[in-house]
């Protein structure tokens, strides 16, 4: 490896001892797409899983302008350490109540999501999974529990580039989305379903009893992280829904309905005003929009891949 090779070191390049020491001292920065996140994690039990999940992410050092300073630590309380809660804060402020220490990794991941969602209104932020193929972006907006994250994780491991399982970052005026690849969170049964689907994927620890059930995180593929500066314009908007035992159904829907669904799924639609209207209008106009119902993950992946591959771009 040439000394002149550009780019910051990867999180995975550090020894686990050094990673742990720096994380505990608050001297770790991780680049996640357009966001530079400062991490201070005084919960040693999650140091190793964190390093594994972010192994391919660029690691930042030294003074810089961070997008947020995230802090996770145990709260001061008497009692056995295993029963202690953890407190997540962003710039010294706790956005929610303390959580059980056993859920520390999930709390940190959700916390960073929250910090992003509360601040970065230069983007229209869609509650959607986003992936890219053939230079175009697929949006999967959906309410929780409809299976979007499972489908997202599956596509990401079948030659789709992961942008995000949670945040569609639409840049107003461009019709394009920005990647922010981060661990994908799976819930309950989908954890095992996904393990069978992609046995080579790396999963973090299984965390039971969270507000959303049992949760585990999938490490984003290295190529997705490596290309996190590459934007893509929206081409397909698919509203997915997993239903047990049903045959696959992929039904095109009207653009006006698609507009309404997309806007409803935007965290900060009202904040952006006319820019939000224009951004959603552009996506609805430029994309083919579908409703997808499926029970078999493989079938759903094939159908979406075929859809992307059949489209003739000018």
């Amino acid at each position: 490896m040439m000394a002149s090779e550009a780019g910051p070191p990867r999180v995975g390049a550090l020894s686990s001892a050094e990673w742990s020491e720096r994380l505990a001292a608050g001297r770790v920065g991780v680049r996640m797409g357009p966001f530079d996140v400062r991490l201070h994690v005084a919960v040693p039990s999650i140091h190793a899983p964190l390093q594994a999940l972010y192994a391919d992410h660029p690691m930042l050092d030294g003074p810089r302008v961070y997008s947020c300073h995230a802090d996770l630590r145990h709260t001061r309380r008497l009692g056995r350490p295993a029963r202690r809660n953890v407190r997540f804060t962003v710039d010294g402020i706790a956005p929610h109540e303390d959580m059980p220490g056993a859920q520390a990794l999930a709390v940190l991941e959700w916390g960073v999501n929250l910090a992003i969602a509360m601040r970065f209104h230069g983007f229209l932020m869609l509650h959607a999974a986003v992936l890219e193929r053939r230079g175009r972006a697929l949006l999967l907006p959906a309410a929780p529990g409809f299976g979007k994250s499972t489908l997202c994780a599956a596509l990401a491991h079948r030659n789709w580039r992961l942008f995000s399982d949670e945040f569609g970052l639409l840049v107003p005026g461009t019709g394009s989305l920005l990647p922010v690849p981060r661990p994908i969170s799976l819930k309950n049964q989908s954890i095992e379903v996904f393990r069978s689907f992609a046995p080579q994927a790396h999963l973090g620890p299984v965390i039971p009893n969270t507000r959303k059930g049992t949760v585990a995180h999938v490490k984003p593929p290295a190529e997705s992280v490596a290309q996190s500066e590459l934007a893509a314009p929206a081409a397909w908007v698919v509203f997915p829904r997993w239903v047990a035992g049903v045959p696959l159904g992929l039904e095109e829907i009207g653009r006006s309905e698609a507009f309404m669904q997309i806007a409803t799924n935007a965290f900060n639609y009202e904040v952006l005003g006319s820019a939000a209207y224009e951004a959603v209008r552009e996506v609805a106009a430029a994309s083919r929009c579908f409703r997808l119902v499926y029970s078999d993950l493989q079938e759903a992946v094939e159908a979406l891949t075929a859809l992307a591959d059949e489209d003739d771009f000018q």
Partner: protein, 375 residues
């Protein structure tokens, strides 16, 4: 009480924030670490939108690193969205009261700055809509709003009682289809407060904003209201930005409103708001270098508190006003804030009520952890 580390940290915070307020464009010349801290502090002080506006106006936005630009854009978007919301809410209130056209509707604080375009409105993060109406019209206005879809916030009977009997407000209202909170006032302070400004004097000098159906307080009264709210009425979390409002208004009216300084102190006395005005002038000058004529400062000395009180305020106020360093929790600052919290309530309520109210509020805070509205 304070370690030298804490003091140094507080001093660094103060320098950083004051520099950003005095010279927003100057943030383009800061080191990355200094810029990072500045953004974090200004966000905590709810002044990030203001900084963003000034940075953009000065043309240096593009010189900043991407993460800084994204943070500023985010803060300014929120500020603009809330300003837009406030304007529309005022439009709808005027519409709802169209058959009560003879009732004066005075927009106060944030809405007044927005509607008159004072410099502090730029990038300001609006919260509630504050409206002043004559006491005799309060019930009628409330019922019109209710008829058009506004509802009182859900409050416990204790809070409802507190609001109606003791404060100058009804419980806050909001329209069922919008989230903006409206506070209807008939004075600028509680009925039971130590200072008793005559609301009819405020109404008599109010100025109509033609074509809007609204009026605003006269410039001296607008500033006095802000000073009163900060030093006798607020609960201190937004304290610095209220002092920034005051500083901007003094600078603006001093330059653009003929006779402003001649009228200011006599008006403060006439409205029985001399003590809060004393503090307002003092700290706007000392901390934010507001351009106040020497003779006005001299005149205000007649309302200075006893020396021990002033000594304490001089130490508490800066500690409480400036944001905490985000990485270091300062016990001295928390203590200062809590002392001022008690003081503010003492000014608003008779002591026996205060004790009861404070323990109730403390209990409420324990069972309802609060979420910040913006990070």
């Amino acid at each position: 009480m304070t370690s030298s580390n804490e003091t140094a940290s507080h001093e660094a915070v103060r320098r950083c924030v004051i520099a950003a307020l005095r010279d927003p464009a100057g943030i383009a010349r800061l080191t990355a670490g200094e810029l990072d801290l500045t953004l974090r502090l200004m966000r905590r002080a709810q002044l990030l939108g203001r900084l963003a506006w000034h940075v953009r106006a000065a043309g240096v936005h593009e010189q900043l690193p991407r993460t800084a630009r994204d943070a500023l854009v985010g803060a300014l978007r929120i500020a603009e969205a809330k300003a837009h919301e406030a304007r529309w809410e005022l439009d709808r209130v005027v519409w709802a009261l169209r058959d009560e056209a003879q009732v004066p509707l005075i927009a106060m604080k944030g809405c007044a700055y927005l509607m008159t375009g004072t410099p502090n409105a730029s990038g300001r993060l609006f919260a509630d809509v504050d409206l002043l109406v004559p006491e005799a019209d309060l019930a009628r206005v409330e019922s019109r709003l209710v008829a058009h879809g506004w509802r009182g916030a859900e409050v416990t009977p204790y809070d409802d009682n507190y609001y109606r009997l003791w404060t100058h407000e009804l419980p806050p209202m909001s329209h069922v289809e919008r989230e903006v909170e409206i506070d209807l006032h008939h004075n600028v302070l509680m009925r039971t407060a130590r200072f008793k400004p005559d609301a009819s004097l405020l109404l008599a000098n109010a100025r109509a904003l033609s074509g809007t159906g609204l009026a605003v307080l006269a410039p001296t009264d607008m500033v006095l209201h802000a000073m009163t709210h900060l030093f006798a009425g607020s609960e201190m979390p937004d304290a610095l930005r209220e002092l920034v409002d005051i500083q901007d208004l003094l600078r603006h009216f001093g330059a653009h409103e003929a006779g402003f300084w001649e009228r200011f102190w006599p008006r403060a006395v006439q409205l029985d708001l001399a003590r809060p005005a004393f503090y307002g002038l003092r700290y706007a000058k000392q901390l934010l270098d507001a351009p106040i004529p020497a003779e006005v400062l001299r005149a205000s000395q007649s309302a200075r508190p006893p020396a021990p009180v002033l000594w304490l305020m001089d130490r508490l106020v800066p500690r409480a006003l400036f944001p905490q360093h985000p990485d270091r929790h300062s016990h001295a600052t928390s203590f200062a804030r809590s002392l001022l919290f008690v003081r503010v309530h003492w000014l608003r309520m008779p002591p026996p009520m205060l004790a009861r109210h404070l323990s109730y509020k403390f209990w409420r805070r324990l069972i309802q952890p609060r979420e910040p509205s913006s990070a």
